[in-house]
Symmetry: C2
Subunit: 410 residues, 2 copies
């Protein structure tokens, strides 16, 4: 095995840079962010790259191309984590790329493009509630308002960045143009490849999302004294609605996933009171925006019918919408060739989660390679696993892609 | 109208004794408990009774019988309230009885029994989490452990009682024996009489109750990355269970009511996470213990089937059971005669809520008269209403009952 074992050891090493005793939590602009970034930069240099922090706290490594004016191909993923995280989400996309460069460097091979790896400073948004911070800046989509976001102690992003040694005034300069391609490797965070027995897959698009806050208002009452036929039970109505969301999405398994993730009785409820009001959220995702929007509309009708039949009211607040981001067709085809070259069946699959690649897609053709996630596909959890064999194949596929990629003439 | 208008005025006056600005909340052993009790005792005396606080803070009024050794008939209801209460729950049962005595006294009529009215100090249990405190003491079922119950400020019931001027050591002496009957009037707190256009009804039994804490454990996951078919969504499973409880009880409308009153995702949930664990409660009530126990058993089977089909686990904790308390047949018949005498169709109905009468049933034949509750039958709410006409008829019915009741020879 050429790459896999070392990559997993490096992931273990990075997991030691944690703010929480006994579990992995690494957030933006903390001492552990600095330590992890310095370790990553050291590995980048060891692999033959120039590397260092940028003005926002991203770590950027550069492996020069075969000529000074060569175009640039970017890769990377994030080095921050959620609370009590797994060790491959984000991290793997950085380490696999460094491994590729190290191999090229050992062979003294230069590519017809400069290859840059970015360890993005904050994708998860745990500390400031703003996601995709690092990749937004490269896409020229970081806005000055984001500097005002505060962490739970009231510290602004700007204050924390200055204390970290970053340069808020230089953020606009991070915006990139003329990038030939952005290719991100990432653990799947779901069970599709696991269930199909495949080590890697080619992402077709990053799903769009619609999110709804729903409030059901019925009539509270005494659990003992109100006969069943006259009830306007907000909990029972909301339960029926949650099942309608599930049934709708389950009947369209290739188009859509839907989740009721929050669900609470106003005031918490009491064992002996018929609930009068329930609030819940609906999260709908699809790689196909038309499918997703149709589902939102159909569910609104279906849930209103439930409300009407039960004599309750439904307030419907579509508070968030994000369009799907399709991956570049030519890059998908090139990745698929590299997968095939390793004797692996090509599985195309959408990404239900958001990634830094969504932001980079605004400025470059974008593609993603997914790697099998063990243990039922669980992620954002310490149980997240990846085998050395899969890490090895994924790295070899990425390297094959890089060695065969011909950037279009500018 | 002989009684109704004044009773509603008195209820308005008692509602002024509140701990909360702008809403009615009156809890045990507070200054407002004292003030309300003193007002009630004053009305009792005005009606020709001897009256005062007992050792526990109940107000007891006595209207002597036609001879010194006459048996005792008891009535009464509670003077405490829930938080943000209506003004007739409890209060009405006290005021209607005082009105009866006032009328008898005006006519200088004595009955073949001593008639005692108890304004029970605490039925709702808001302050110390112990319900039916006053009636338990009269039934000889007050236990010394109850004195150790604490309010939210850490004050024990015993400390508060001593500060109030009560006598904890004298509580055992409150236990009553040889009571000929206990008859409580109470607002229905439900819509049955309202829906049937009847001012009063005769209670058949006070429902028994079973309460279950259920916990559903599935598998948390990313809302975007886990396909619908492989999910083990605890929220969807619990929603299906809540609907099964509703459907089961709705199919047996004369036997049973059932309510899921608490329902919460562990940790509160997040819009983009498939819920991994949900806890909820089930409250089942029936006037028939066999029906209720059968429902508990059938629902446990049905909910386990749902859990098994969905690949989640169900923890089932039957944490509370209370047997139904049937009303005395002879007293029901006597109350029915008095209802008929007023040209009102006799409606027998169960009480889904608990009442002080449940405790007194341990030491005396017990009956209850329900009075129509307006506005959909809502109670434990400032919207609780009763008309002066209904208060008048109910009082006239109770008076008719008292004047025709012959206590059995001891």
């Amino acid at each position: 095995m050429k790459f896999g074992k070392r990559i997993l050891e490096q992931a273990d090493r990075l997991a030691e840079f944690t703010e929480d005793e006994g579990r992995l939590t690494r957030t933006y602009l903390t001492p552990k962010h600095r330590e992890a970034g310095e370790q990553i930069a050291a590995w980048m240099r060891e692999a033959g790259m120039e590397a260092g922090f940028d003005a926002l706290g991203n770590v950027v490594g550069r492996y020069a191309g075969d000529r000074a004016d060569a175009p640039v191909v970017l890769t990377g993923s994030h080095m921050d984590t959620v609370v009590d995280a797994g060790r491959y989400d984000g991290t793997f996309g950085i380490l696999t790329a460094i491994a590729c460069v190290q191999d090229l460097h050992k062979r003294r091979k230069r590519l017809p493009f400069a290859f840059e790896i970015v360890a993005f400073c904050d994708e998860e948004g745990v500390r400031f509630g703003v996601t995709l911070i690092g990749s937004r800046a490269l896409a020229g989509r970081f806005t000055p308002e984001m500097l005002k976001a505060r962490d739970k102690d009231g510290v602004t992003l700007k204050e924390a960045l200055v204390a970290f040694g970053g340069r808020p005034e230089a953020i606009p300069l991070l915006s990139r143009k003329g990038i030939a391609a952005f290719v991100e490797s990432h653990i799947e965070q779901g069970p599709v490849l696991l269930d199909e027995g495949l080590p890697v897959g080619v992402v077709t698009s990053i799903a769009g999302a619609s999110r709804v806050k729903a409030r059901v208002t019925g009539l509270a009452g005494h659990a003992g004294t109100v006969p069943m036929p006259g009830r306007r039970d907000a909990l029972a109505a909301a339960a029926e609605m949650a099942l309608a969301v599930e049934r709708h999405c389950a009947s369209r398994p290739r188009e859509l996933v839907g989740t009721v993730g929050k669900f609470a009785i106003a005031g918490g409820g009491a064992v002996n009171v018929i609930p009068g009001s329930v609030e819940f959220t609906i999260d709908l995702r699809s790689g196909n925006d038309a499918h997703r929007k149709a589902a939102v509309a159909e569910l609104q009708v279906a849930l209103n019918e439930i409300a009407q039949r039960r004599g309750v009211t439904l307030d419907w607040d579509l508070f968030f919408e994000l369009e799907a981001m399709p991956c570049d067709e030519a890059l998908q085809a090139a990745l698929a060739e590299s997968v095939k070259a390793h004797g692996v069946a090509v599985r195309h699959l959408p990404s239900g989660a958001g990634h830094d690649a969504m932001e980079l897609a605004h400025i470059a053709p974008m593609a993603m390679l997914f790697v099998r996630c063990g243990d039922g596909g669980i992620s954002h959890n310490p149980r997240e696993t990846m085998t050395a064999e899969d890490a090895d194949i994924a790295t070899s596929v990425l390297l094959h892609f890089l060695e065969n990629f011909q950037p279009p003439n500018p």
